[in-house]
């Protein structure tokens, strides 16, 4: 049982969704990103996604694009990623990495998995790698004991959901809407339908991301999903400092703990 499996066993036992917070490594600087991630861990994020700032983030909206640009301009390098992951682990948090595929491919898939595991990372979320092209990563994640979190989308056919969930471990990342990352006023009605369709194919926990920004939305999503993923809203707060990040994380952590209707 992986540490992510244990986490979801615990939150399912508590009758709530897990709070999963995203922040990019190196934003605004490597040192400050460690402090910001520590603040989210301390304030109640059950799992953090450490984002890899990448030159061509096609799945990301303006907020995360701008953060990645800032991190890269401030000198973020790939080796810093492992250091940031290690800082989360040392803080007592659980970290997965969310990254576009080319940096992993270029580093060497097995070497990347090895170094991520050594840094205390628990797995990888791969927005532009589906199981279709994932054989090398699937082998490397098995070798190094990492979870592989693949995405499903409202446009995914049942056939593709079956293929994706069969290859995934840890949890499945359901994108709530068709679109790129970014805070939204409403989380799409498509989200619940997608969670239900996904559960028809797997017992893996299902996390819902894209658009969640408030405690109320977190409560709404937590009512039907195993995990609530918050990215852009936290990144916006990261621009204001650790207090702002901690305050939003607390609000979200309270949201996922509201009694399910």
């Amino acid at each position: 049982m992986s540490r992510i499996d244990e986490l979801f066993a615990q939150t399912r036992g508590e009758g709530r969704g897990a709070l999963i917070g995203y922040l990019p490594a190196g934003y605004p600087t490597v040192a400050e990103s460690k402090e910001l991630l520590a603040a989210t861990v301390d304030a109640g994020a059950d799992l953090v996604e450490v984002g890899f700032p990448y030159s061509d983030p096609v799945m990301d909206g303006p907020t995360i694009q701008a953060a990645a640009d800032t991190a890269l301009r401030n000198g973020f390098r790939l080796k810093d990623l492992f250091e940031v992951v290690e800082s989360v682990a040392n803080r007592g948090g659980r970290a997965v990495v969310m990254t576009y595929w080319n940096p992993v491919f270029h580093y060497g898939v097995d070497a990347f998995a090895r170094d991520l595991a050594a840094a205390g990372g628990l797995g990888l979320i791969t927005p532009d790698l589906t199981p279709d092209e994932g054989s090398e990563w699937i082998a490397a994640s098995d070798t190094h004991g990492l979870d592989r979190i693949f995405l499903v989308a409202p446009s995914s056919s049942d056939e593709r959901i079956a293929l994706t969930t069969a290859a995934a471990s840890g949890f499945v990342y359901a994108t709530a809407v068709m679109g790129v990352t970014g805070a939204r006023d409403t989380v799409g009605a498509a989200a619940q339908g997608l969670v239900n369709r996904t559960r028809a194919h797997t017992d893996l926990p299902v996390g819902v991301g894209l658009g969640v920004r408030s405690g109320d939305q977190a409560a709404e999503v937590s009512a039907f999903a195993d995990g609530v993923i918050v990215g852009s809203a936290l990144v916006t707060k990261a621009g204001e400092g650790t207090d702002a990040v901690a305050a939003l994380t607390k609000e979200l952590a309270e949201g996922v703990r509201r009694p399910r209707a």
Binding site: Y54, S55, D56, P57, V58, M59, G61, Q65, D69, L72, R77, L78, W101, N102, P103, V104, F105, H106, Y107, P127, D128, L129, T130, D132, E133, F150, L151, V152, A153, P154, S155, S156, S157, R160, T164, T175, M178, G179, V180
Partner: protein, 407 residues
Amino acid sequence: MADTASQSSQHDPDARGHFGDYGGRFLPEALMGALDELAAEYDKAQHDPEFTAEFQRLLSGYAGRPSLLTEAPRFAEHAGGARIFLKREDLNHTGSHKINNVLGQALLTKRMGKKRVIAETGAGQHGVATATACALLDLECVVYMGEVDTERQALNVARMRLLGAEVVPVGTGSRTLKDAINEALRDWVTNVDTTHYLLGTAAGAHPFPVMVRNFHKVIGQEAREQILERTGRLPDAVAACVGGGSNAIGIFHGFLDDADVRLVGLEPGGKGLDSGEHGATLTQGTPGTLHGALSYLLQDDDGQTIEAYSISAGLDYPGVGPEHSHLKDVGRAEYRAVTDDEAMDAFQLLSKTEGIIPAVESAHALAGALQLGRELGPDGLIVVSLSGRGDKDVDTAARYFNLVEGV
């Protein structure tokens, strides 16, 4: 005329779009359904006589095909005496080869019942061609274009708007073609139900590389027939510029099975390979994923994309189509870099010796032909893909050569 869109060949990728080690699909899950639908619809269409007949009708009755093969003897005097023939894609409607692919994909868009088309453009040639096809076939059209390019190619922005397209300047990243593609992909992932992404080059996720190539194969098929008819033999070399590589893959395919014909792709060497300011992906890059495919890529030690540079907006791209990567690795095609200065010299030379102003992109192929001619000697025979006309580049040339007072 040869049947252009319907032949499958031994050069096709595998079922998941791999040309050897390259290609495939590296895009978000949200787009996989649309890519599957596109692949299935394209497969049906290319075996549907009605579709292929309609495509042929537009190529001949609207785009103006077949395009001419023009000998360039005064230009060739500067190429060691070799004979040089130009495949005149510049004479197509909208002034470049881009119209071939655009008409094919616009017809497919109608077939899929989609009403909205998005596209990226660098030099504006693909954007203008897309806006044209959308006007013809009554499709809504949005074109993403880097801000650097909207400045370099302001006339083409006006052209697209005249044709009824919305042009969206892209201010992120390097503000060129690469970032226009990123923005188009973000639009597509949001609007995929109603929208077809009409990708302009033989790159990206499967089925784009094979589909775009097949829509452009007509260039090579015509060129092969024409050169045989004119000279009684096959050329020693075929030269074409390579940014994403669509005109090159189109003309190369006519000669791929002719083992004695050298296929030479000319990449933008910019200010020189040592300067770091270039777009020579195949000569200087390493394998990586960008915009949906595994292919050669300009990237740094961390796998971050390096911004390309070229005087030519249409070649200013850090990636390249996956089939070119395969042809390079198996040794069937060769790729070399041509600097801005070499390309501009060839640009001026063709203008003054033949009365043909080429696109700056195509001038890279012309510069390559001058090199090849000198290497081959007086018995050499070269076909050059003159992929586009240079009207859009007059401003660039005026600055480069100081042709207008006060510019």
